[in-house]
């Protein structure tokens, strides 16, 4: 059985559509449940976290009506849920290094903190920055 069947006819170019034509992009509505919205919220948060947004900035993005899709998720899921998601995603994916060639080969690199006493790429265990914070040497 078909879950979704799109319009099956597109009229010849230049001809007026008629009321009975099943025209594309008119009145086609597809189901989207809460799990879909929650997952959308997660991918927004993950993507912006990978781009360097801090937890606070992520939350601001969701609160802002100018970011229509994240804001829609924020309205539907509520602040508490969005806060939990952004916190988790920022902590995990917001940890990255910045390489800025213009700042010089050494100063332009920030390595990750390493747990369990292991060594990072440049052996910078104990780097003081917390998860999700974006900093460069210039800061």
């Amino acid at each position: 059985m078909l879950f979704y069947e799109g319009p099956s006819y597109e009229g010849p170019p230049g001809k007026e559509p008629e009321a009975t034509d099943p025209m594309m992009l008119v009145g086609v509505e597809l189901e989207a449940d809460e799990s879909s919205l929650r997952e959308s919220c997660r991918v927004f948060a993950e993507e912006f976290a990978r781009m360097g947004f801090s937890e606070a900035r992520l939350l601001e993005t969701f609160r802002s009506p100018f970011y229509a899709a994240p804001h829609r998720a924020y309205q539907a899921l509520g602040e508490e849920t969005v806060l939990a998601i952004t916190r988790e995603e920022a902590a995990l994916w917001g940890r990255f290094r910045v390489r800025d060639r213009d700042a010089g080969p050494e100063t332009g690199l920030i390595s990750l903190p390493v747990l369990e006493g292991g060594q990072g790429e440049r052996g910078t265990a104990g780097c003081p920055r917390g998860p999700g914070a974006r900093r460069t040497e210039e800061e």
Partner: protein
């Protein structure tokens, strides 16, 4: 006509096909991670500028990216084929034991409906009709992705946009970008339908080609291919299709240095959604076990990559990691019953999956094998509310000869664009 029986592992059962099963030594295959696709159309243009820039090929987009659920090239190709199958077998296009026991030979359960070959056998006349399909009308080939990211105008005013803009009521929205090329199917519908046997599958790599000297432009392949990836060229009066950039796959491209190399559309992918390879095939056309092949891992071990519309029955060799945010019923229709498991694993990836996902687009040389060197634990926390740890493992890629191509880590640095290239792309 009476058809032969072949085994289709994606359907978990034997099926009817006009020819006896003949399988290549290796099979051209690819995995697209739709979660990463931004529809930049770099793949589309890479293909266009390589293969289809001549007169008569204006409508040919062997590689394209369409915005789902509304877009498609040709328009509505997939829903039209689904409708034909539904009409031929009303209510019967279902997976019989989608939630049941899985095996290597039936990883998604068993498909109880009819394929385009089986529906043709039961419903079409004359006997020479071998595949259920349709020939798209000319206007359906007009726009590669009509309405993509464009507003439509007022109803009844074609070709005119709203002068002041419109405000839509708050509504739930979702969409995703579906990148497509020829699937170089194990049981190609184009090959099955050709009355002149002009289409063949290469025994060395399973690439499906049209012999231009044999083709007479009957367009039976265009009608039969459910993915609509065979296209008719009016001025040459022959059909043409994706050639899988076979000189590159053969290692004959000057850039390749003799090593099998990925296609142009793969190499151009800036979203790093694509990985292409050559996989080993067993005597029944299924993938032979090759545990350290990244494609084998994604399709058969992690099971995060799924075939596109497996119910069509052609056993396509293109696989997709389904987009996490899309409603599951839609995805199950498009990728079969493996969707839920695939998304669960992709959304909370294990150590090996994270490493293999890092292999995408670090090189244009085909990866035949990978190895992982364990690194330190760099994060401990939660993901989806469950405990999760991240390790900075190193993944190493090898070419056909076993020579290392590259190595990369889970955590990659973010590069700031240098001043001298501030405005370049």
């Amino acid at each position: 006509m009476t058809m032969a029986q072949v085994y289709n592992w994606q359907l978990g059962r034997p099926m009817a096909y006009p020819y006896e099963g003949r399988y290549p030594k290796e099979q051209f295959a690819f995995v697209f991670n739709i979660n990463r696709c931004i529809a930049c159309q770099s793949c589309t243009m890479a293909c266009k500028s390589t293969w289809t820039f001549s007169k008569g090929q204006e409508h040919m987009w062997w590689a394209n990216v369409e915005t789902k659920p509304y877009g498609g090239y040709p328009q509505f190709w997939d829903v039209k084929v689904l409708r034909l199958l539904e009409d031929a077998n009303p209510g019967g296009q279902v997976w019989s034991d989608a939630g049941g026991a899985r095996s290597e030979r039936a990883p998604y359960g068993k498909f109880a409906g009819q394929t385009i070959f089986e529906a043709a056998e039961r419903t079409l006349t004359p006997e020479s009709a071998r595949v259920l399909g349709y020939l798209p009308a000319d206007h359906e080939w007009n726009a590669p992705n009509i309405y993509e990211d464009n507003p439509v105008g007022e109803r009844g005013k074609p070709g005119e946009f709203d002068k002041t803009g419109v405000e839509l009521p708050v509504h739930k929205t979702w969409f995703f970008y579906l990148a497509r090329i020829c699937n170089h199917c194990t049981y190609p519908a184009c090959l099955a339908a050709c009355p002149r046997k002009a289409i063949y599958k290469r025994p060395e790599d399973g690439i499906v080609l049209i012999d231009q000297s044999e083709c007479r432009g009957y367009r039976k392949c265009v009608e039969a291919c459910p993915y609509k990836k065979a296209m008719y060229r009016g001025n040459a009066r022959v059909s043409e299709k994706c050639v899988a950039c076979y000189p590159r796959v053969e290692g004959k491209d000057p850039e390749s240095g003799g090593r099998p190399m990925e296609t142009r559309c793969m190499a151009a992918c800036i979203g790093q959604i694509r990985m292409q390879g050559l996989v080993k095939v067993d005597e029944e056309g299924a993938w032979a076990e090759d545990r350290q092949s990244p494609l084998y891992y994604l399709v058969h071990v992690a099971k995060v990559a799924l075939p596109l519309y497996p119910q069509f029955g052609t056993q396509p060799n293109g696989y997709y990691i389904p987009p996490r945010w899309v409603p599951r019923p839609y995805l199950r229709q498009m990728f079969g019953p493996g969707v839920d498991e695939a998304i669960d694993r992709y959304a909370t990836p294990d150590r090996e999956l994270l490493a293999v996902l890092q292999l995408f687009r670090r090189s244009n040389v085909i990866i035949f094998r990978y190895e992982i060197e364990e690194g330190p634990r760099i994060y401990e926390g939660t993901l989806h509310g469950k405990p999760f740890a991240l390790h900075n493992d190193t993944v190493i890629a090898f070419d056909r000869a076993g020579k290392e191509i590259f190595r990369t880590t889970i955590e990659e640095p973010l590069h700031v664009r240098p001043r001298e290239h501030a405005n370049s792309i």
